[in-house]
Amino acid sequence: MSSEINNPFASTEQEHRGKKVELLVKFCTLAMTWLLIIPVLAIIVFLVYKAWPALSIEFLLDNPEKKMTAGGIWGPLIGTFFLVLVSLIIAAPTGILAGVYLNEFARDNWVTRFINLAVVNLAGVPSIVHGLFGLGAFVYFLGMDRCLLAASCTVAVMTLPVIITSTKEALASVPMSFRVACWNMGATKWQTIRTIVLPNSISGILTGVILQVARAAGETAPILFTGAMISSRIADSGWDAMVPYGLDDRFMALSYHLYIISTQWQNVPESFKFGTAAVMIGLVIAVNSLSIGFRIYLRARKKW
């Protein structure tokens, strides 16, 4: 009894209520976190379970046969690879250089603000709109026709804003004092960027680029009208199987292939549909893991 009276730090009634709220908030946030993880796990488990009968090395390396009811997904897989490759060759240098300009050279005036606003808005444009834009701009106006190049350009336009934004953020995270130190020794802006800013921001920049690989590989809408095709005969082996599409060829792609065999084609074994989906998810996870691993590796090397 006496200890209660003498306790100068006894909790008040209000604190008791506060404790309950604290517990409640903790529980709710935890529950939401689990709610987030469950769908991801469920999708992966479900996909792999359904796709299991089809999954094999042959499924990856064989071309679709007999109206896609047999064989594998080599054509679409290599098509997606080239789509991503060409679109990155276009988007990565453009986006990185634009990001460098916007963060390192551009003065804060209305032109710069307008460009930044445009970049942000471009990132919010739905992919189907990009697809229609690509059809109008690259396929018709520039006369590319539907082909790998037109589709890659469309995907590049779609991925550009995020590459620009992540480049800008990565550059902005390099402390200003490094730049000031360089300038005060007589460095030009480019010398500063080349010797100090880029080496210390490359991990962030590349992370942004790699994450766009997953997006470029996954989207169907931008390539729908600009170059993807339902089926094309490509070689089963040799060099022609490795590089089946030229820049001016139409091509198969995983996302479009999945759309076709799921909705447009009859008699495709269910495991093929889920197998294609599982390969796509696997690609995305692999690319994301690569980007995370890469970032950890580069972070560990830089210290200030």
Binding site: D108, A181, N184, M185, G186, Q191, K303
Partner: protein, 275 residues
Amino acid sequence: MSTIATESSTTQYPPVEISLADELSIQTRGLNLWYGDFQALMDVSVNIKKGIITGLIGPSGCGKTTLLRCFNRINERYGNVRTTGDIEILDKNIYDSDVSVRQLRRSVGMVFQRPNPLPISIFDNVLFGMGLHDAHKSLSRSERADVVEMALREVDLWNTVKDRLKARATTLTLEQQQKLCIARLLPLKPDIILMDEPCSALDAEGIEKVENLIESLRDEYTVVIVTHNMAQARRATDECIFMLLGEIIEHSKTSEMFLNPQHEKTEMYIQGRYG
């Protein structure tokens, strides 16, 4: 040099007595500077002598750092800055069109409040400036090592770091980092070293060591040092310039300024009545 007398006679406040024997390192005449609409420097005319340590003192926001940044035109990198008036460094107007800012900054180095070594090795930090000016390409490996050793010896850092020159500069203590920041200027053979509160991030021991280092730079280099610390201004400088709201109030020998300030505002500031 004949212009000095007429120039100093135009200032509002008692002119600094300059014997014509003293060589001048930095002269400004009617220097005004605006950040956007805000005027940060007002009609600043100042003569800074060669080979001594000059302190810039005054309350926060009085334009000390701004004035310092004028001397190597680094202000221009901070955007939206406009200046009028003349700045002559080593008798050359640095706003002349035939002045290369890169060569100017090579000759007028700066040290900052927060030590800012680059995130590369100690060795590379010292050589970094030379690299910017392609000055180390002609040097052999051993000559480069000599340059690094000489610079680090000059700042009394060589014995501490000679065994770990390849270590990252950012792993050094703050005091060592600040010394390194001074050392990396030296291979560029500067004439003037500007210091913007070089000791304010350091502890007492570090302050003492860096002050001793600054002391040792006298004669060979002209040092201009911004400081908030009155005791430091008194200890470490030969002359002091007191600024207030963008204007030069008083410029005199440090001993005179602290013993017998000419201006009431100077007196009140150095006594610590405002800051």
